[in-house]
């Protein structure tokens, strides 16, 4: 049951990002749907699942984006592992935890990628990238995570 779920997450996440990502961009900022998926899966299934799925999703993203292979794979694997290793006393069943995790995960993912891109002389200044890409994307991802987590919770209670 786990393997099909992971395969579905990787395939579906890639498809959704490729098809919907550019279509739902606001002011040039599009969500990073794979990060949201990795975080939500990691919180439910643990650090190993988050790490593996993050790596697979990131690898596919590297191939599609055309950048250095392993860039997204590494950053999303790290983020997936960290999200899955959240201490249990964070009460991960509370909606605010996955939403905050998605926000922080996006910022972390962006910073890790930027740090790795310096090996390839990526020219964009960090401040510009942070203010124009990473932070807006983190907000967008938090919004998506809210919809993905809060809506089913409210429905279940109702």
């Amino acid at each position: 049951m786990r393997l099909p779920l992971y395969v579905l997450t990787v395939g579906g996440g890639t498809l959704v990002q490729c098809v919907l990502g550019p279509a739902v961009s606001i002011g040039g900022v599009s969500p990073d749907i794979p990060v949201v998926l990795v975080v939500l899966l990691a919180i439910r299934r643990g650090p190993e699942a988050g790490c593996l799925v993050g790596f697979a999703l990131g690898l596919v993203a590297d191939v599609l984006a055309g950048g250095p292979l392993g860039l997204h794979a590494l950053s999303k694997a790290l983020v997936g592992f960290a999200a899955g290793a959240l201490p249990r006393w964070f009460l991960v069943s509370r909606p605010v935890v996955p939403v905050t995790a998605a926000l922080l995960a996006t910022v972390t993912d962006g910073m890790v990628r930027f740090a790795l891109l310096q090996l390839f002389h990526y020219p964009a200044p960090f401040g510009e990238l942070l203010s124009r890409v990473i932070v807006p994307q983190a907000g967008y991802n938090a919004l998506l995570a809210t919809v993905a987590v809060v809506v089913p919770t409210v429905r279940a209670r109702g």
């Binding site: 550019p22 040039g28 599009s30 055309g66 964009a124 990238l129």
Partner: protein
């Protein structure tokens, strides 16, 4: 006596009725006007009832006719709506085909004007994750495309081929932060670099001493570095910032709306000819 009447009651009744009828007939035959008072009396009672009955009947017929008309009208409305929706969809498809036709005609015209070999390709995917800006096209190495080959559309430069695969390629857009293209300002001939900026924008970097650049000035490729031929439109100056250190920057509006690019032309790598005449 009572028994007799009871036994023959029905026959008695018949006899009385027959007698009354014959009497009436006889009376009217003798004097035609005589029966009028009786007829009037009867009519006095029956006429209102008749009128009410007739009105009710007419009202019922009208309602039924209205209902039938309404049904027919409703069916007609549904049919017209369906037809209208189908026509609208067909119109949308035709508009889309017309737009595609115009784009492709533009590319064909550009191909004819460019005095060099080109490869046409369709955009199959977009990557907008903010760090890198790219398009994936459905042509690759097998179609004769070179790595770092310039990519253009009728309005100007789109970018260059960054990753080349067998039958696909990823184009690094000129708005990618890692993109840097030699540029020249039309009119002043000021030389600079057009660079992508995080968030999908474009910037022109000039020497601090270049003061002749104004908003509205057109920017073209300079041909320096031999990655892009000379004369390809890059964009238009939106605003110029004061110098900071050795450089001065200007914000550029790209010549091409990169979000709507559907088909591109890939030029051969290393083309040095001035291709400005192909972009009026």
């Amino acid at each position: 006596m009572h028994d007799l009447l009871a036994r023959y009651r029905k026959y008695s009744l018949l006899a009385v009725v027959l007698l009354a009828g014959v009497s009436l007939l006889t009376l009217q035959r003798a004097r035609p006007d005589n029966g009028i008072w009786l007829a009037d009396g009867i009519a006095f009672v029956t006429a209102p009832l008749q009128t009410v009955a007739e009105r009710l009947h007419r009202r019922a017929v009208t309602l039924w006719t209205t209902y039938l008309d309404w049904k027919a009208l409703r069916a007609e409305v549904v049919r017209l709506r369906t037809e209208s929706t189908a026509l609208r969809l067909r119109q949308l498809r035709q508009d889309e085909l017309e737009n595609e036709n115009q784009r492709l005609r533009g590319l064909v015209t550009l191909h004819d004007r460019l005095a060099t070999r080109t490869v046409g390709a369709e955009v199959v995917a977009r990557e907008w994750n903010g760090f890198t800006r790219g398009l994936t096209i459905g042509r690759g190495r097998l179609d004769g495309i070179d790595r770092l080959a310039p990519v253009v559309v009728a309005r100007g430069v789109v970018g260059r081929v960054a990753v080349l695969r067998r039958s696909s390629a990823i184009i690094q857009l000129l708005t990618d932060p890692a993109s840097s293209i030699g540029a020249v300002v039309h009119g002043t001939r000021a030389q600079g670099l057009v660079e992508g900026v995080a968030g999908g924008r474009l910037r022109l970097k000039l020497a601090a001493g270049e003061e002749g650049v104004r908003p509205g000035d057109l920017i073209y490729t300079s041909g320096i570095g031999e990655l892009f031929p000379k004369g390809l439109p890059l964009g238009r100056v939106l605003r110029v910032y004061p110098p900071a250190g050795l450089f001065r920057t200007a914000e550029i509006e790209p010549a091409v709306d990169l979000a709507t690019v559907e088909e591109v032309l890939v030029l051969p790598r290393g083309t040095t000819a001035d291709l400005g005449a192909a972009f009026p």
